[in-house]
């Protein structure tokens, strides 16, 4: 009967790699939101308050998705 001895360590490694990828995705996503927002403010500075509110809302949604993945990575380590 073979036992996969590295299972626990691989689970930890998988969880950490997954969380890292999620952080990368969040970084790219929120960076693009920021880029769009800053360009929009540059075009029309009077609208900066509205743009900022929408930017924060969209950033929170993207970050929520990334945090899902981080929680799954954490679960991979713990379970």
């Amino acid at each position: 009967m073979t036992v996969f001895l590295a299972a626990g360590a691989l689970a930890n490694a998988g969880g950490a790699v997954g969380a890292g990828l999620a952080a990368m995705g969040a970084g790219i996503g929120i960076g693009q939101i920021g880029k769009g927002a800053v360009e929009a403010i540059a075009r029309q500075p009077e609208a900066s308050n509205d743009i900022r509110a929408n930017m924060i809302l969209a950033a929170a949604l993207v970050e929520g998705a990334a945090l899902f993945a981080i929680i799954i990575g954490f679960l991979a380590m713990v379970l």
Partner: protein
């Protein structure tokens, strides 16, 4: 002059964090017995996992720090909290958690397991735990602060202060935040029904905010980073959204307009699931943000002790870098405290608004900023 006061403030913050977050590292000599050497159950020295989980999980006491006394024993400095248990066999038990003496003693047939939870000594007895743990006590404290603040400010408004004149004292603080939630969160998303939902939105906003901020103080409980707390908030938001939904909303879910026939089954499934996934995302977002912030801060400080285990000199060398990063992350966590409270509130308002928006002519676009 300004630089001097910033320096003083920085020195004060630095010293407080250093004092409040220090742990004792115990170095132990290796086991000299060779024949009957037994495996050590607990890793001596610094156990980072134990420290991290000890901070983010609930506990039956407020734990501040522990010092090593003259007899070589560790003395933890804690505030014990009441333990309230009910089981069929033993009935209601009420005692302070100091009776457990940090897990060394059994009380009334109950003991603390290594995670700090109360378990019966005899296996198999069902115990219901109604204790006032530190999360509960912190929530009650936040509630007390909130009730006192809001009622005293409301009273000063009814007395006439700040109605036609400039606001005074606490009114300044509360008016800014309430006006912000009303004008940026409730009115744009809820239009004419804003005042109906404002009590709930304000309660959720301030409760999450106060618990977030108190949780940043070392020694307090991690309430908003507790999945049970966020689940309850998410479920309450879900119930509010469901009660404000109308037939138009459900019509759009089960019969999305302007969708080709072959895509409809998939889209109906996705739309129906999204009714449940949106509050679920609210739950996970708040929980993960707060717990991640706490874990980052604890890990950065733990780095010092992890390095110190390898070599005390590296430990000292890592301290300034670690502390600098920790202070930086603390400022970000302060921002995240406000941001997450705001995001929970604004997304709840958006979902409620989507649930009762009325008929619009075909082809007319939805008038909210983000369609989620």
């Amino acid at each position: 002059m300004v630089y001097k006061s910033i320096k003083t403030i920085l020195a004060l913050v630095f010293s407080t964090i250093l004092l409040a977050l220090s742990y004792n590292v115990i170095a132990q000599e290796g086991d000299t017995k060779t024949a009957e050497s037994h495996v050590e159950e607990k890793k001596e020295g610094f156990n980072a996992k134990e420290v991290i989980f000890g901070h983010i999980m609930d506990a039956h006491e407020f734990h501040f720090f522990e010092y090593e006394g003259s007899d070589g024993q560790k003395h933890p400095i804690t505030i014990p909290l009441p333990v309230v248990l009910y089981s069929q066999q033993k009935g209601l038990s009420f005692f302070m958690s100091s009776a457990f003496e940090h897990g060394h003693k059994e009380v009334n047939g109950y003991k603390l397991n290594e995670d700090g939870k109360v378990i019966p000594v005899q296996e198999g007895i069902k115990v219901y735990d109604f204790s006032l743990t530190r999360n509960v006590v912190q929530m009650i404290l936040a509630l007390a602060i909130l009730v006192w603040l809001m009622i005293s400010v409301a009273k000063s408004y009814t007395k006439g202060l700040g109605v036609t004149s400039a606001p005074k004292g606490k009114q300044n603080l509360v008016e800014v935040m309430v006006a912000f939630v009303r004008d940026e969160v409730a009115k744009p998303n809820l239009a004419h029904k804003a005042n109906k939902y404002l009590p709930y939105l304000l309660t959720v906003f301030f409760f999450i905010l106060i618990n977030n901020i108190i949780g940043l103080i070392p020694g307090t409980a991690n309430v908003t980073g507790n999945i049970a707390f966020t689940i309850v908030l998410g479920v309450i938001s879900f119930v509010v959204i469901m009660f404000s939904s109308n037939s138009h909303y459900w019509g759009h879910i089960f019969n999305p307009p302007g969708v080709p026939g072959f895509v409809k089954p998939i889209l109906v499934l996705v739309e129906f699931l999204s009714v449940f996934i949106k509050p679920f995302a609210l739950i996970i977002r708040l929980f993960a943000n707060m717990v991640a912030g706490h874990i980052i801060i604890i890990c950065l400080i733990s780095l010092i002790f992890i390095f110190a285990q390898i070599n005390p000199a590296i430990g000292w060398g890592a301290s300034p870098v670690s502390i600098a990063f920790t202070i930086f992350i603390y400022f970000i966590e302060l921002l995240v405290a406000f941001l997450q409270a705001f995001i929970f509130t604004v997304l709840t308002a958006v979902f409620i608004g989507q649930a009762f928006e009325g008929e619009h002519a075909p082809g007319e676009p939805h008038d909210d900023a983000v369609i989620v």
